[in-house]
Amino acid sequence: MTRSIDQINERIRSGDAVVMTAEEVVSLARETGVKEAAKRVDVVTTGTFAPMCSSGAFLNFGHAEPLMRMSRVLLNDVLAYAGLAAVDCYIGATELSEKQGMAYGGAHVIEDLIAGRSVKLRATSYGTDCYPRREIETEVALEGMNQCFMFNPRNAYQNYSCAANTSGRVIKTYMGTLLPGCANATYSTSGELSPLLKDPELRTIGIGTRVFFGGAQGYVAWEGTQCFPSIIKDADGFEHIGGATLALVGDMKKMSPAFIRAAVMDGYGVSLYVGVGIPFPVLDEDMMARLAASNEELYTEVYDYSVPVRSRPVLRSRVSYAELRSGSMELFGKKVPAAPLSSLKKAREIAELLKARVRSGEFLLTSPVSPLPLDTAKRKLEG
């Protein structure tokens, strides 16, 4: 049994395509087997909604009168990078407010804009013959600006480690607040719903792949930063999938505040919850076998976040998402509460919404323009 993406799109257009969420397909394959599930289903939708720090947006304000080449740009007192053309800037999600510190940042500016709220723009310049104006203070909103697109260099991590803290004090990390003596553990993956865990070999995802991005249709622009896809078999023969990331681009004006939200990680800083979903074509049984992988068959490792070095100590080399989802996991013979940082409720919402959009024909599947590299060497910074 094989299907091409063109054939699947034809079935979507004629209204015959069978579309299911990854959770539904896990149950279906459990009942009928992978072979039968592959026969029955054309498209499987996934979703994730988690803090993704490497996010931000390019904004073009439109020209002021007199003309100005903005060299320093503040949006609600958050610094945006303006080392671009006259009225272009990039607002990064993790940049902190110069007045409010960690309570407000670039992610909040992005959320405010997407929610339709205006933000205060303050810009200064050194003034040139062609751009004489030296300062401006005004309000800007999404609808009044030219192109505003989110360009996130690293989103949709294929898999991510689970964090715990062996030290004697509370530590505040990008993985949340970790209690001393491994009194809790946090993880940030939607498991069997997580997009890149369902296509570990990146057979169907590449440059140009259309994805659900913050409520709108977005695209894979490039491999994400630190994209190091890997499938490693451990000593017991269990496969560990991980490492791929995506650089995503999408129109902010079409996004929804339901799927883009600012996050403050206490004591760490600001991040952005990004909702991402990918519909996968069931090309063949191999593809379905991957898509039907359940939380029992998907694993991560537990690392000690109290040791801030490149290779953090491994506290447990294999834990399944089924165990983490149960609310607690075993660590050093103790039952430790395990809590997610990514919203399963939102991930489900995204997979369901994407299912409806594919079914209705408004969201067609794409063939990658170019594949993502699978064998990038990981470099370290010396110094």
């Binding site: 949340g176 939200r261 997610p340």
Partner: protein, 138 residues
């Protein structure tokens, strides 16, 4: 009837020097769980605690405390969370040791069990969307 309530006791410099909790426990049979305490000699301060005992004993013990110059406030609603801004991520459940905050295994929605809450306030900082606050004095 057995009852369990949360109270805030505020002490002035004088009442802070008395072994109040000893009297409340010994004379009225109250079982205490101290949730917060910040009392300095010569200054005073406050404690938040859970008191468990016979309803009549609790009432009499609080009347005694007031008589000794302690300002007593019964706390009802502890943690309040805003369902509009909550994204149900679960970050707050990571720090909720008594498991008052939890994710429903079926719907994956955040649930709050007021009775289990010890008002440690860890969840307030841990919530990435600022959706949790504590109303102590309602």
């Amino acid at each position: 009837m057995q009852k369990s309530i949360k109270v805030r006791l505020r002490f002035d410099a004088l009442s802070a020097s008395k072994p109040m909790i000893y009297y409340l426990a010994k004379d009225y049979g109250i079982v205490f769980s101290i949730l917060q305490a910040d009392i300095r000699p010569g200054v005073g301060g406050r404690t938040i605690m859970e008191m468990t005992g016979e309803e009549a004993d609790i009432e009499r013990s609080l009347a005694f405390a007031k008589d000794q110059g302690v300002d007593v406030k019964i706390l009802s609603k502890a943690v309040v969370w805003n369902n509009e801004t909550c994204v149900h991520c679960g970050a707050c459940t990571a720090v909720c040791v008594p498991k008052a905050l939890s994710l429903d295994p079926g719907t994956a929605e955040l649930c709050f069990d007021n009775a289990a809450c010890v008002v440690c306030e860890m969840c307030i900082g841990a919530c990435p969307t600022g959706s949790i606050r504590v109303d102590l004095y309602e």
